[in-house]
């Protein structure tokens, strides 16, 4: 039996699923870890919503430039072949379906691929959506990266989201510390499990899931 995945193992697993030559948006926060595991031979081009293609790694030392930041407002660098454009063009690029993959965090994902990741619904919270809704409906493939369970052990994969939605039926693949799951027309199919068996996973999420089509393998 395999182990649950660490955040870095999960990031590597996501990176391995990004097709060669893809245009990818990694949002903010945890998904940005994925960039550390993209290989040069994958030839992936990173998009940042604030108007850039060809984003490079985080800036360090002399590279710091307050005019060159990513969606999380972190200073980054520019790679050869980069381009800059304004916000309407940047979001037109997303909304128009030109990005191959985006990777987002999530509070909840439903079995229909609905995503909740922007607002807990707590009336005391100050809501902030940013580009989350645009990314959720824009990319050809929307990958979610999250822990399978909340801190108190409830499944974040749910029959229907209880948190406010970010997008309807938009998620295509779900990467968690305990399983990688594919959203298919027939339902959620388990691709791999980590640190649990398929049967244990079923009990944890308490949802009907389709069994893996092949033996579970630890890829990360």
């Amino acid at each position: 039996m395999t182990e649950r995945l660490t955040r870095n193992q999960l990031a590597r697993l996501v990176a391995q699923d990004i097709p060669s030559g893809a245009y990818v948006n990694l949002g903010i926060g945890q998904p940005t870890l994925v960039s550390d595991y993209l290989t040069p031979s994958q030839n992936v081009t990173l998009h940042t919503e604030n108007g850039m293609l060809g984003m490079g790694p985080a800036a360090e030392g002399d590279e710091l430039d307050e005019d060159l930041i990513n969606a999380g407002k972190i200073p980054v660098t520019e790679l050869p072949g980069a381009s800059y454009f304004h916000h309407a063009d940047s979001f037109g690029m997303m909304r128009g379906g030109h990005l191959d993959v985006c990777v987002l965090g999530a509070f909840q994902v439903s079995v229909a691929g609905d995503l909740a990741n922007w607002h807990t619904g707590d009336p005391n919270d100050i809501p902030a959506v940013g580009g989350a809704m645009d990314l959720a409906i824009g990319a050809k493939d929307v990958f979610v990266m999250m822990n399978l369970l909340t801190r108190d052990g409830r499944s974040k994969l749910v029959e229907a989201c209880t948190y406010p939605l970010t997008g309807v039926g938009c998620v295509t693949r779900i990467f968690t510390d305990m399983a990688v799951l594919l959203v298919t027309p027939d339902g959620i199919r388990v691709r791999d499990t980590y640190g649990c068996t398929f049967e244990e996973l079923l009990r944890l999420v308490d949802l009907p899931l389709l069994a893996p089509e092949r033996e579970s393998m630890l890829k990360a």
Partner: protein, 232 residues
């Protein structure tokens, strides 16, 4: 007709109480800090501000909000690690917030600038941010009708202007500048440098001067690490 102003206070002198003001920037990049602080000194009240964020730290837009000059803000991402001035006003119910997904915000501004009366966007369909809005299924997919955001003024920051108001920007500080310039009745731009007319390659102009009413030079300083920082 372009006016080139001697200082930022003169540049914002026509902004009255109750004005709708677009303010450029994504975080600090492209935020016209000096123009906003001139607006703060001018004292205009009851403003509606349209900007991606709701200010950082205690300068620029954050200061304007902190001083109680902003009655309403239309933005996508008000909550940040250093947005405490907005947070306080919001929790005290002293500022109205219209939260708009970032791409819809950009497209609504672009629609105003380009004379579009409304558009159907898939972003936000089925979410609480589309509540009460007209929706429509198009080719089997859900869309929300969004309307243009027109403004009285735009305050933006660019790298260079020439004598007719053509603008170029710098890296990701471009962000909302070009679309905001097109959507306001009066667009005011702070630039690091004014060059002679003919000094910008016509192929590389990002905002044509037709969208620019006022330019003021706020020189940038080169910091020790090679990045630019605007002089205070």
């Amino acid at each position: 007709m372009l006016t080139i102003h001697d200082d930022v206070d003169e540049a914002v002198s026509e902004i009255t109480d109750g004005a709708i003001v677009l303010i450029g920037g994504f975080g600090k990049a492209g935020q016209p800090i000096e123009l906003i602080e001139a607006l703060l000194r001018r004292g205009s009240r009851n403003l509606t501000v349209v900007s991606n964020n709701a200010g950082n730290g205690t300068v620029g837009l954050a200061a304007l909000i902190g001083a109680g000059r902003v009655a309403k803000i239309i933005c996508s991402f008000p909550r940040q690690s250093d947005s405490e001035l907005f947070d306080a006003k919001f929790r005290a119910a002293e500022i109205e917030l219209e939260l708009v997904p970032q791409g819809n915000l950009a497209e609504r501004i672009r629609a105003a600038g380009s004379g579009i009366g409304g558009f159907f966007t898939p972003t936000g369909y089925g979410t609480m941010l589309a509540a009460g809005k007209e929706t429509r299924m198009i080719d089997g997919r859900g869309f929300v009708l969004e309307s243009p955001i027109r403004a009285d003024f735009a305050l933006i920051k660019a790298l260079k202007a020439d004598g007719v108001g053509n603008l170029v920007y710098r890296k990701t500080a471009r962000n909302f500048g070009p679309i905001m310039a097109s959507a306001a009745a009066h667009t005011i731009v702070q630039v690091s440098e004014l060059v002679e007319t003919g000094g910008l390659d016509p192929e590389n102009v990002v905002t044509p001067g037709i969208f620019v009413n006022s330019v003021v030079v706020v020189p940038a300083q080169i910091t020790s690490n090679g990045s630019t920082e605007v002089a205070r």
